[in-house]
């Protein structure tokens, strides 16, 4: 009984116990916050990378892309693990936004739009076509849960489109004086950060006129990039939506346009021409080409690196067979199938190294915290030496005295670990608001999306991280108390009385 009684008394009456409690709380909170933010960032990076271009990407280093992609896609779609495959064209261009500013952009186009939602995050990133209607369904209180689920499924099945949201007359009104019918211009979807800046509250403010702005886009003919005078194609588009993949560099530089249009402008559409063979003109066809094919893979292969590599190998075989069929294999620039992490290896490798460094640094912090607790407990035992003599004089055993200080350490560890978790929870869950306040009031910007890729700081705590960090805090408190507890237990009561 005396152990419990003394532990509770010491906790309530000794200020030094509050110091050690504060040390455990702060160390736990600090490690939890940093691990949650940085670990969350790594997880977000990996997840977003995978969602960005699909699980497996068939690509070729050359800017001119590769042909016979339809045949490859037909066969790839037949693989049981594959959910969808879409062709993509990627090139660079110069964009003039509504005559107000110009920017270098990456121009991207997806074919087979009905499948793109199953492959990458493009559709989910669309504000007008996906995020806004999803939000409306969620907020519609007149709908039952089943009805909401049904409407969401219908929206997902519909997929993205480049259809313009306004009527023809409106477009004519907003682009008068041109020699063309403005309502016939195609639509385009810029990355959100290309056309919208976040407000002071961090939210994207889409003004009412955003979908009546136009973009003039100039792209190069990829077939002719190696020539001395590459030809260029300039087209005007209406902004019909904006896309926020949450991958800052993508959202800041990418503009999405209709597939057929870009394929033509970039010189990658099929081309019929006459070729003289043995003195006779023979009709010839240059097949259409794409930059890459993005493939979606079903679970469980999607989340298993080994299974995904096996699917990737199967796709590579299909690619090789098609290449052989058209006698295109054996080039120095082959068409390759890569898993998403192989394609992003340069970045993910660096990030995973950073994670190891983080664990190492926090290992050092943990050791420092352990010594802090050890020192505090050593001081407590020194301060309570006379008490130990008193307790022993009324019959307490060595083990009993040790248990007082171990129990004291355990209690401080549990309370400190718990309080540290609560503190970290409050900080992590409000970290974006705290960061916004720091920026607004003190002008401190720690999280720059140009450095950290994402605009928001990850604010999710993993149960696994909480479990191991709080456990280490408790263990540190008990271990920190252990040597002083053993010293206390071994004290001769008479020596303890003489302690000054």
């Amino acid at each position: 009984m005396y152990k419990l009684h003394l532990i509770l008394k010491y906790l309530r009456k000794r200020r030094i116990a509050w110091v050690s409690l504060a040390a455990v709380t702060l160390c736990t909170a600090m490690v939890l916050v940093v691990i949650s933010v940085m670990g969350g960032w790594v997880n977000m990076f990996l997840k977003t990378s995978q969602e960005l271009e699909g699980d497996i990407i068939i690509t070729r280093m050359s800017d001119t892309g590769f042909a016979h992609y339809d045949e490859i896609m037909d066969q790839v779609r037949k693989l049981p693990q594959v959910t969808a495959a879409v062709p993509a064209i990627i090139t660079f261009g110069l964009a003039n936004f509504d005559g107000q500013y110009r920017d270098k952009v990456e121009v991207r186009a997806y074919g087979d739009l009905d499948q793109v939602g199953k492959v990458n995050s493009f559709f989910k990133g669309l504000y007008r076509q996906y995020q806004e209607p999803m939000e409306e369904i969620d907020q519609d209180t007149s709908l039952s849960a089943a009805e909401k689920a049904k409407r969401k499924a219908e929206l997902i099945d519909k997929g993205p489109s480049f259809d313009k949201p306004l009527d023809a007359e409106t477009y004519k009104e907003y682009l008068p004086g041109k020699n063309i019918d403005a309502s016939t211009l195609p639509g385009c979807i810029p990355g959100t950060r290309l056309i919208i800046l976040p407000g002071a509250d961090g939210k994207m403010n889409r003004g009412p006129g955003i979908y009546t702005d136009w973009v003039q886009l100039t792209v190069g003919d990829l077939r002719s990039v190696e020539s001395v005078t590459p030809s260029l194609a300039t087209s005007t588009y209406w902004i019909i939506d904006d896309c926020k993949t949450n991958f800052f560099p993508v959202d800041q530089t990418t503009i999405y346009v209709p597939f057929d249009k870009l394929q033509r402008d970039a010189g990658m559409a099929a081309e019929n021409y006459m070729e003289k063979v043995d003195g006779q003109l023979v009709p010839h066809v240059d097949p259409a080409r794409v930059s890459e094919i993005e493939v979606g893979v079903a679970e469980p292969a999607k989340s298993s690196a080994k299974d995904l590599a096996a699917v990737c190998a199967a796709i590579q075989k299909i690619v090789d067979d098609v290449q052989s069929k058209y006698e295109l294999s054996g080039t120095s620039d082959p068409v390759e199938a890569q898993t998403w992490d192989q394609k992003q290896a340069q970045y993910t490798g660096a990030i995973l190294h950073e994670e190891v460094l983080l664990v190492f640094l926090f290992g050092i912090v943990s050791v420092v915290a352990f010594f802090l607790i050890f020192c505090v407990f050593y001081m407590i035992v020194a301060e309570k030496t006379r008490d130990i003599g008193i307790i022993k004089s009324v019959g307490a055993s060595n083990m009993g005295v040790a248990e007082i200080f171990l129990g004291y350490g355990l209690t401080i560890g549990v309370l400190g670990g718990g309080a540290g978790f609560l503190l970290a929870y409050l900080v992590v869950h409000n970290i974006n608001q705290i960061h916004a306040w720091l920026g607004r009031e003190l002008g401190i910007v720690i999280w720059d999306p140009r450095t950290y890729i994402f605009e928001t700081i990850p604010n999710v705590m993993q149960a696994r991280d909480i479990a191991w960090i709080v456990s280490v805090a408790i263990l540190s408190a008990v271990l920190g108390a252990m040597i002083p507890a053993i010293r206390a237990a071994r004290l001769n009561p008479v020596e303890a009385f003489r302690w000054e």
Partner: protein
């Protein structure tokens, strides 16, 4: 004036009435490079219900002797028997149990736990003895007993006070209450008035005398003050590591 005899007593044969017996006790302390032998083959027998005063000058080894007799410390040579049991043969836990249930200690500097109030300090013995469940099942009875002991010592109004809020005499009475809580067979008092003014010291001595007379409590008290020692049944003087009886 009573006078100590010149010969220390030889070890007397054990008697049934002896509650505590020391035979050939020796204890040496190392002081830097030198060694100081404070007890040199000391013999002592204490009868149940006896009030024994051990007198001696400061630093002569009185407290050391008391600690060895009370199983708080061990000796280099010799043996201590409590109720016929050799203390040296007992385990640490058994010695702890003995201190908890059979012995009570009162120290010169009170040695109260500063975080606990008067009632809690008094209840320390039962708290050490009992598990959490046993303590809670008996807590009413224990608190009643503690209140009774404290009331007997005139501390009824001080139950919730902490040691820092008490006078020296009150602190010492709390220490006596703590020592008496488990109804010890032997009460060891180490200079119980050494830190008190003479009037308060007399009051504490009266408490010890009342305990001895009214409850037949065995008391072994060490003191350097002859006037206090004379209030005991028997006085022995510790000199040169041996005990000499004082004839009265």
């Amino acid at each position: 004036m009573s006078q100590a005899t010149s010969q220390p007593p030889a070890a007397a044969p054990a008697k049934a009435s002896d509650i505590l017996r020391a035979v050939g006790l020796a204890r040496t302390f190392r002081m830097g490079d030198s060694r100081v032998q404070v007890l040199k083959g000391l013999n002592l027998s204490v009868r149940e219900g006896e009030f024994l005063a051990i007198e001696g000058r400061s630093g002569c080894g009185k407290s050391t002797l008391l600690h060895i007799l009370g199983a708080l410390d061990s000796c280099d040579a010799g043996e201590v028997f409590y109720d016929g049991r050799n203390l040296a043969a007992l385990s640490g836990a058994a010695r702890g149990k003995l201190r908890n249930t059979q012995f009570g200690f009162v120290f010169q500097f009170y040695h109260l736990l500063p975080e606990l109030n008067v009632l809690e300090n008094t209840l320390l013995g039962p708290m050490v003895e009992l598990s959490v469940l046993s303590y809670f099942s008996k807590r009413r009875e224990l608190k009643r007993r503690a209140a009774e002991v404290l009331s007997w010592l005139g501390l009824d109004a001080r139950l919730k006070h902490r040691p820092s809020q008490l006078s020296g005499g009150e602190r010492q009475r709390v220490a006596i209450a703590r020592a008496l809580m488990n109804r010890p067979r032997v009460l060891f008092a180490d200079e119980p008035t050494g830190n008190l003014d003479s009037e308060t010291g007399r009051q504490i001595m009266s408490v010890l005398e009342r305990l001895h007379k009214e409850q037949n409590q065995t008391v072994i008290m060490v003191t350097h003050d002859r006037s206090l020692a004379t209030r005991a049944d028997r006085i022995m003087v510790l000199r040169d590591g041996a005990l000499y009886p004082v004839e009265r």
